[in-house]
């Protein structure tokens, strides 16, 4: 297929793999974090581990929107649907995240709550227009990629006077998570980042320069196709070998240094920084997430329905927190593949196909058996 097959070509992959094998000679090895779940998924789905030498170790990062959402945030969504009788619109992956009282959004739906799976914020707006007598809440999650569409929806609702539409805002910020990983005491040792693809189309490559300049970590922004990821790995190895730490862009077909200024302005207009936001695994991080500006307060479901955030501890055997910090691998978790499977997930990393545990379970667990 045009513009897809080109980035999945087996022969090109073998060429890049040969270069990686030839150049990855540092005795200390290469500990590279792929930030995004999209990269984790590509690595697993295409079996890229088989094409990398033992000296290159990929460490999964926290860039999976569903994974970093703490239980208390999904609890809020469930409370809205069950106790306030709203139509709760959500992207599919959040439906299966286990939360309090042995519930998921899917189970709440089976129990009679009106939870609807949507593909775009426009679907949620349509549901609001079609159901003027009901309150409709869009459960907004995700990094900078999904934030502009939410901003568009809020502005549209304001223009149309859709008083029955609101947003439960959980949009989070990528650079904040990278800071948290690098500054965690006793955190994972890293030699470089495979930088976000879609997020960077919005925010550009500039926000990562601090990680190269201040932390001395090379960053190579990469697309989500397997050849993108492999090329980025090669570029990181070259930087490390040469003792450089800069931000490089493998994904030039979509990412510029400045990013999408129009989208940034839209987000700036609708959202402001939250003082504090709790992430699964990374804890409470100041200025790491967004909330609606006071001008758009009537579309803020947290205010509209007065639902406070209540922090809830993860399942005590679940290692999602350490896995999201890159400190543990999925197979290091005692319940991985036994109690916790994609069919019956205990932690959020086993839910989304971008989650480290789900990706390893679904595509790579034969490696543990061998």
């Amino acid at each position: 297929m045009k513009y897809v097959d080109e980035f999945r070509d087996g022969e090109l992959a073998r060429n890049i793999a040969a270069n990686i094998a030839r150049e990855a000679t540092a005795a200390s090895g290469y500990r590279l974090m792929e930030f995004c779940g999209g990269h984790t998924h590509a690595l697993s789905r295409y079996g890229i581990a088989d094409l990398l030498p033992a000296s290159v170790r990929m460490i999964h990062g926290p860039g999976c929107p569903v994974c970093v959402l703490p239980i208390g945030r999904v609890d809020q969504a469930i409370r809205l649907a069950r106790e306030h009788g709203v139509i709760l619109c959500t992207y599919a992956d959040t439906m299966l995240v286990p939360c309090s009282d042995n519930l998921t959004l899917m189970r709440a739906k089976s129990g009679g709550a009106d939870v609807r799976m949507i593909y775009s914020t426009q679907d949620a707006l349509k549901i609001a227009r079609d159901n003027p007598g009901r309150q409709v809440v869009f459960f907004a999650i995700g990094f900078e990629t999904t934030t502009p569409p939410t901003a568009v929806a809020v502005k549209q609702a304001a223009t149309e006077g859709l008083t029955n539409f609101s947003v439960l805002c959980n949009h989070v910020l990528t650079p904040a998570a990278m800071h948290a990983i690098l500054s965690a005491p006793g955190g994972v040792a890293l030699d470089g980042f495979v930088g976000p693809a879609h997020v960077s189309t919005v925010i550009g490559s500039k926000p990562y320069e601090v990680f190269a300049d201040d932390y001395g970590k090379p960053v190579v922004i990469a697309g989500f196709e397997p050849l993108d990821v492999m090329q980025a790995i090669l570029m990181l190895i070259r930087q490390i070998n040469e003792g450089r730490a800069t931000v490089e862009n493998e994904f030039t077909r979509a990412v510029t240094r400045e990013g999408n200024l129009k989208a940034q302005a839209l987000v700036e207009e609708v959202f402001e920084l939250r003082e504090m936001f709790e992430w699964r695994g990374l804890g409470s991080i100041p200025h790491s997430a967004l909330t609606l500006r006071p001008e758009f307060a009537e579309f803020d479901a947290e205010l509209k329905f007065s639902i406070d955030y209540v922090a809830v501890r993860d399942h005590k055997a679940c290692e999602c927190a350490a896995i999201l910090r890159g400190e543990k691998r999925p197979q290091d978790c005692k319940i991985f593949g036994t109690v916790c499977t994609p069919h019956n997930p205990i932690g959020s990393c086993m839910v989304s196909s971008e989650g480290a545990c789900a990706a390893h379970y679904s595509y790579g667990r034969f490696r543990d058996a061998a």
């Binding site: 297929m1 070509d9 087996g10 992959a13 295409y46 790579g364």
Partner: protein, 349 residues
């Protein structure tokens, strides 16, 4: 009084009329619906008996019986509709047992208010599919539920067939070393239905592959190849079907991604929606597992049949205590092809 026609009732209005609760009541309205629609279209001597059941001739051999409920939404999609789908689905289930399908029965659950014109279209499509396949619909039932309690039409079909002598096909018969064949491209039906859904409109020309496969199966059995398993990869797609077989047989599998064909619009639509064609439903494809020495011969026979011209050998059965279905990727790596977790696409057939 001589104007009264003793046995007259106004014919059903197939242009403007709608299903009413009385059409499922067991009374005269139901008798009329059956006579003017079902019996007329399905048109065979067994149904015309008009009894509580069809009295069928004696059959020699082992019987195969299967049943399948159809709840697809929307009811009409590119390449087919719930009517022909309900015929093909059950014929295929019987055929996958190495059997020749002989008779079908159909049960309709209709929602009050459903347009009779649409019902007529669906019944005509079923009748045509049954006629083309040479498998008559010999018994049926109609129920009507109140408006809001159904979703237009649900159709449950049951099929009876007779297994070919000396042939036993079963999901637990795959052996390490066996060859795995696939009759054509994957994902066509699921993406045809999905692309028609109201909240997901895109113009990709994707047509359902819905088809009756008993002719293809007969040709494969005629070849004399040592077949062990036949299965049609419907809901859950190819990946789920192969995992079922691996589990039943206590074996593993190694597939080759480059051998599994996907039509380009299907690939594009899956890419766009983040779906994996390995998990998308098919309604006119089959997976065959046969003894390794017969793989080439079976492939030739399949490719000679119009419903399997793109057939391919897609992998081998392996010895594996874990029962993993694995695949070598186009990129040169290896991955697991796991069971489908959760529901990728509800109401696809």
């Amino acid at each position: 009084m001589d104007k009264v026609k003793p046995n007259y009732s106004r014919p059903l209005d197939f242009k403007q009329g709608r299903v009413e609760l009385s059409h499922g009541s067991g009374g005269r309205a139901m008798a009329q619906l059956i006579a003017e629609l079902f019996t007329a279209d399905f048109d065979n001597a067994y149904l015309a008996q008009g009894n509580d059941g069809a009295l069928l001739p004696q059959i020699a051999g082992r019987l195969v019986m299967s049943c399948d409920g159809h709840v697809v939404s929307p009811l009409f999609f590119a390449g087919g509709d719930i009517g022909c789908l309900s015929v093909h689905g059950t014929i295929n289930d019987v055929a996958m047992m190495g059997a020749r399908p002989l008779y079908l029965a159909a049960s309709f659950i209709l929602e009050e208010g459903f347009p009779l014109a649409d019902l007529k279209r669906i019944v005509a499509s079923m009748a045509n599919a049954a006629r083309v396949a040479g498998v008559p619909i010999v018994a049926g039932d109609t129920k009507v539920v109140e408006q809001g309690k159904g979703d237009g039409v649900f159709i449950i079909t049951t099929g009876v067939g007779v297994a070919r002598e000396g042939i036993t096909l079963s999901g637990d018969l795959a052996q390490p070393g066996d060859t795995i064949l696939l009759s054509g491209t994957i994902g066509d039906h699921g993406m045809a239905v999905l692309s028609q859904r109201e909240n997901l409109t895109f113009d990709a020309p994707i047509v359902s592959d819905t088809a009756a496969l008993h002719g293809l199966v007969a040709a494969m059995l005629d070849s004399g190849a040592k077949l062990r398993v036949l299965r049609d990869p419907t809901r859950g797609g190819l990946a789920t079907t192969l995992n079922e077989i691996a589990k039943q047989s206590g074996v593993g599998m190694m597939l080759h991604e480059s051998a599994i064909a996907v039509n380009q619009p299907v690939e594009a639509a899956c890419e766009f929606l983040g779906l994996d064609p390995l998990y998308v439903a098919n309604e006119g494809k089959l997976v065959a597992i046969c003894a390794p020495e017969d793989g080439g011969r079976l492939l030739e026979v399949m490719r000679a049949h119009p419903l399997a011209s793109e057939a391919a050998i897609i992998g081998e059965v392996t010895e594996d205590a874990h029962g993993f279905v694995q695949m070598t990727t186009k990129l040169g790596g290896r991955r697991i092809v796991d069971w489908l977790a959760g529901e990728q696409l509800p109401r696809i057939c």
